[in-house]
């Protein structure tokens, strides 16, 4: 009875704390400017099903795609087991679904294979990060916390799967010993091999079985609450992020409506622009970005596929699209935290540009869209880079001098180079 109460209290506390933090994240995302992504719902749904559920964009790199798929399927399907754990925990039952007989045996057997698969995949992931040191996992933006974060997540998953398999092994051994309360249920094709590692007396076995049971469920609840503090939010945000992703051709940049109004007034003084909120042109800080950009930042799991295909990054420039997303998120978190305390918020003397993302980074971009194409969950770092450039150019008139020259040429003679418009047809004469 005490354990049931404890279980219920823990679960409620975990869910409440998670909701509390999730609300803050959503509040932060809503600090962004509006963007209309309510069009074409069926196409959006299809994109989400294909890209997030189907993980089609992962396939470009088959090895991590296969490993990730095992972890993904394992995560989703083993959660059926969590349902049983929940019911058992609340009602003090044991293996409540055991009555399903052969179906149950099939399920538990399947979970065990998946758990083993997840275990192996996570070990390989750790090796790739820490021993093989794959290039995209050792970039400068990953030093310190992001590197530890990734390792903690992998360790936790390994521990959870270990606990799950040990729990089953102890349970099966208790079943074989005919222990009271341990009904005969489930098949244990994987944990079967762990049985010899376990002691043979009831009391120790029960301690191990109960210990692993509690560890498994507490681990899951803790993991849920770790999400808002980690890069691992993609397991939830991948779905809305792909649903609300850009459906237009990647080459198309948004036309800024605020600019359209001003340009129309300049070309036609009789034009009366609609009342618009005064705001900056481009983005100096995260609240100048749209909520889609900000959701992108929370969704990023720092896999670095974007950076590994970025021509600027490949050739040694400072720009890393992954860092753009991480900086955006870090700045949002910083502002959010001071807002929670009723503090400075955006008026802390800092901004996304300069304090997080440098000019050197934004001017190294070729706008080639390789990062956007590479992201397995349709994050768009280019949109943020463009908005930062817009701020630098339109609000501050601060661009590299050759860019200013180019802009001046377009303004004066309608071409990025200093040629006379009168010479535009000269190509036709020199044949």
């Amino acid at each position: 009875m005490i354990s049931q109460i404890l279980f219920i209290a823990l679960t409620i506390a975990a869910i409440a704390f998670f909701s509390f933090n999730l609300k803050k994240v959503i509040r932060n995302i809503k600090l962004g400017r509006p963007a209309d992504r309510s069009d074409q719902p069926s196409k959006r749904l299809a994109t989400m099903l294909k890209v997030a559920f189907g993980q089609t964009k992962m396939a470009v790199r088959p090895i991590p795609a296969a490993l990730h798929f095992v972890v993904y399927v394992g995560f989703v399907i083993i959660n059926i087991e969590v349902l049983e754990i929940m019911i058992d925990g609340i009602f003090g039952t044991h293996r409540i679904f055991g009555g399903l007989g052969s179906v149950y045996n099939f399920l538990i057997g399947g979970f065990e294979f998946l758990a083993l698969g997840v275990w192996i995949a996570c070990v390989i992931f750790l090796i790739r990060r820490n021993i093989l040191k794959l290039k995209r996992f050792i970039a400068r933006e990953l030093t310190g916390w992001p590197k530890s974060d990734a390792n903690y997540i992998l360790f936790t998953e390994i521990l959870l799967m270990t606990a799950f398999l040990l729990m089953n092994a102890a349970d099966a051994k208790l079943q074989a010993l005919g222990a009271h309360y341990y009904i005969s249920a489930g098949s244990f094709p994987v944990s079967h091999f762990l049985q010899n590692l376990l002691p043979a007396n009831d009391a120790n076995l029960i301690a191990i079985e109960r210990g692993c049971w509690w560890f498994h469920i507490i681990g899951i609840l803790a993991f849920l609450n770790y999400l808002p503090y980690s890069k691992h939010f993609h397991i939830l945000f991948a779905f809305p992020n792909t649903y609300f992703s850009n459906l237009e051709p990647k080459g198309e940049f948004t036309n800024m409506q605020s600019v359209t109004n001003e340009v129309k007034v300049m070309l036609d003084p009789s034009f009366a622009p609609p009342e618009a909120e005064a705001g900056r042109f481009g983005a100096k800080d995260v609240n100048d970005l749209t909520w889609v950009n900000l959701m992108n930042a929370y969704t990023c799991t720092e896999c670095g596929r974007c950076t590994s295909v970025c021509p600027a990054n490949i050739t040694g420039k400072l720009l890393s699209p992954r860092k753009i997303m991480m900086d955006t998120r870090d700045r949002m978190e910083e502002v959010g935290k001071t807002l929670d305390k009723g503090g400075a918020g955006f008026d802390d003397g800092k901004s996304l540009i300069d304090d997080y993302i440098t000019r050197e980074e934004i001017w190294a971009c070729t706008s080639c869209n390789a990062c956007v194409e590479a992201c397995p969950i349709n994050i768009d770092p280019l949109a943020i880079i463009t908005d930062l450039r817009r701020y630098a150019v339109m609000e501050e008139s601060q661009a590299p001098s050759s860019i200013s020259t180019m802009l001046g040429n377009i303004e004066n003679n309608g071409a990025p180079w200093k040629y006379s418009p009168a010479d535009r047809l000269n190509w036709a004469k020199e044949n």
Partner: protein, 255 residues
């Protein structure tokens, strides 16, 4: 264009030449070859000549939305004034901007890139690869321009133009949606690169040279500049030619 209107005629298609195609010496050759192809198949076309102005693409990518929209609206006024319906361009940047970014500002046209025009002409049987230079057995590798490929999903049209040549087509390791940028986009063409350990066009040309090609095919005047510079830097200009799809097509047909 103005002359055609004065004669009371209307073109089937407007050829948007673009700044590079108008002023850049290398790109001018491509411009003339596109004209030769249009003439060869008997399409009635016009150019805006001195009435054409920058689409605003480099201004937009550089962050100057004001200048972009000024350019766009001025151009749209000219295009709509001539009642233009269909546009072909020799530049993926002009193509992308007019096709995708002009409609929101009042300029809606059917816009195609010259490689799409060539593909259509081949499919319709109006254009072949005969009567000119033979590319038989030559090794050709095609470099995808970002704003044609990833930007607008056009990967097959330029390859179609090469397939009819009976040449040996080889793909670079990074091609199509995974293609590596030449380094010119996003207004990089007009500035020095940031500090790094290599220029992007060198990275790209090394990859192209790995396929040991006779010809590197391009579909964009800016890629053309970057790739040609890269080939020169690698001292390969005696062995490897960088040619636009239009130039190759014109040569194959003896135009």
């Amino acid at each position: 264009m103005a002359e055609m209107i004065a004669r009371g005629e209307e073109p089937e298609i407007l050829f948007w030449v673009g700044c590079a195609g108008s002023y850049d010496e290398r790109a001018q050759k491509t411009t003339r070859d596109i004209c030769k192809i249009l003439h060869h198949v008997g399409i009635k076309y016009a150019v805006l000549g001195t009435e054409e102005s920058c689409t605003g693409d480099p201004a937009k990518r550089a962050g100057n939305e004001f200048l972009f929209q000024m350019q766009a609206m001025t151009n749209i006024e000219v295009l709509n004034g001539y009642n233009i319906k269909k546009i072909v361009t020799g530049c993926p940047h002009c193509f992308n901007t007019i096709k995708n970014e002009y409609p929101g500002l009042g300029g809606t046209y059917e816009v195609i890139h010259h490689t799409q025009l060539i593909q259509d002409l081949i499919n319709e049987g109006k254009l072949k690869a005969e009567g000119g230079e033979s590319f038989k057995g030559k090794k050709i590798t095609y470099h995808d321009p970002c704003y044609l490929g990833r930007g607008n999903g056009i990967y097959e049209a330029p390859r179609k133009a090469l397939e009819v040549l009976d040449a040996q087509l080889v793909e670079m390791k990074r091609c199509k949606s995974n293609g590596l940028c030449c380094g010119a986009g996003g207004a990089q063409m007009f500035k020095e690169p940031e500090k790094g350990n290599k220029d992007i066009n060198i990275e790209r040309i090394e990859e192209a040279l790995e396929t040991s090609p006779n010809i590197i095919a391009a579909g964009c005047p800016f890629c053309m500049t970057m790739l040609s510079d890269g080939v020169k830097m690698k001292d390969q200009n005696q062995n490897v030619q960088v040619l636009d799809i239009a130039e190759i097509t014109a040569r194959a047909n003896g135009l």
